[in-house]
Amino acid sequence: MSAVRRLLGEAVVPAATLVLALLAWEAATWAFRIPRFIMPAPSAILGEGWEWRYRFIEHTWVTLYETLGGFALSMAVGVPLAVLIVYSPRLRGAIYPLIVLTQSVPKIAIAPVLLLVLGFGEIPKMVVAFLVAFFPVVVDTATGLAATPPELLDLSRSYRASAFKTFMKVRLPLALPFIFAGAKVAITLSVIGAVVGEFVGSDRGLGYVILSSTSYWKTEVAFSAMILLSLMAIVLFAAVSLVERVVCPWLATEQS
């Protein structure tokens, strides 16, 4: 009984709400005769999206590739940076202000300059995605590494374990939940970064599709691309969560 009620609460109610909202939207576009280039009906979006399905596969792949590249870069750079910050107060003094500075400049403002410097293609988009996404990775990883209970550090020191051993056996695994929290934010930000990069200058990718289709009044296509983007973000987020659950199985049971 309670399982049924939970299913009702977790799945049926949100799904029904979504369907109702879509129906209202569909009805409104008909009733108020809203032009399709301003606000297309859901049915029109789906229809046009289906027409574009093969082209969408290619564009989705490009954006996915850029997103994953940016995400990988932000993890590969962010985690070691955080380690340096936590282990060396001097490096912390040198690096931290720089990192905060890169965050204070709006990424949309840097993107045109970056593309000018790095040229066309996927790499500059990955760099934009990286710049958007690496900050939470650094901050969360550093927070996690600094949160090691002092008792465990004393314990490791009293056993005369090397700093590297303490890092591998104690600090890093204890920081994993924090690192994954940063990774979850980073993966969604990477999608945004890739799209921003495409907006500035590209001839492929879902961001490019949105920009070009709106300039041709093909609003349905833009909406389809948006749906694909949000689906991509959701799937990627779920994938990171899944990896987290595999890597840190003790967390899932701790929360339940």
Binding site: P149, E151, L155, A161, T166
Partner: protein, 255 residues
Amino acid sequence: MIRLQEVEKTYRTRRGDLVHALAETTLEIGDRELVTLVGPSGCGKSTLLKLVAGLVPPSRGQIRVREQPVTGPFPDVGFVFQQPVLLPWRSVLDNVLFSVEMLGLDLRQYRKPAGDLLELTGLAGFETKYPRELSGGMQQRVAICRALLPDPSLLLMDEPFGALDAMTREEMSLELLRIWEERRKTILFVTHSIPEAILLADRVVVMSPRPGRVARVLRVDLPRPRTMELEFDPRFKAHSDEIRSLIFAGRKERP
């Protein structure tokens, strides 16, 4: 076993203020003796433990363990803290093995002793459980096993039962005594609880705060093995009154 000679500890806080954590202290602890340190917060009890373990250097004076001057951490020490600080991704057995792993010893040789220790502390059958599946008292037992596994001659315990509820606490005190009877370690045990300090100790070191110093060292005049019933012994009450008056006398002196 342990000899502190005119040991003093002053450290600088991050803001640059000097804190006099421990004023000149001279103390001797015999082999296989169980000594408790009791006193209010800020009396330098934990500092004293860290000094003995070689985790922090003294500002003045000398500490010797087995006639060897302490210059840094040495592996003949087992540490138990107020929190069990177990590693959540390791099973009970692997948490116990953590100490020998960090010491870089051969793990295979310690599986059997680890099992024996779990048996001794009433955790037989829990080897494959995870810390989250255990109660606070059981987690602390795992922490004690972890400290005992490399068979150190010195056990430093910093309010190990401070986070447990009163009933578990009494149970754990008696259990520690049982382990101590069996394994005979030198134990330095920090506590806030006066009854706990008396129940466990051969000698109680009463400390007073700001700066932390030894107010008096009392020999506990009670038979072993100790039981909870001793709390009603007039000698127990006399000790407890004496310790209490020492601690509160120190308080009144403060402006």
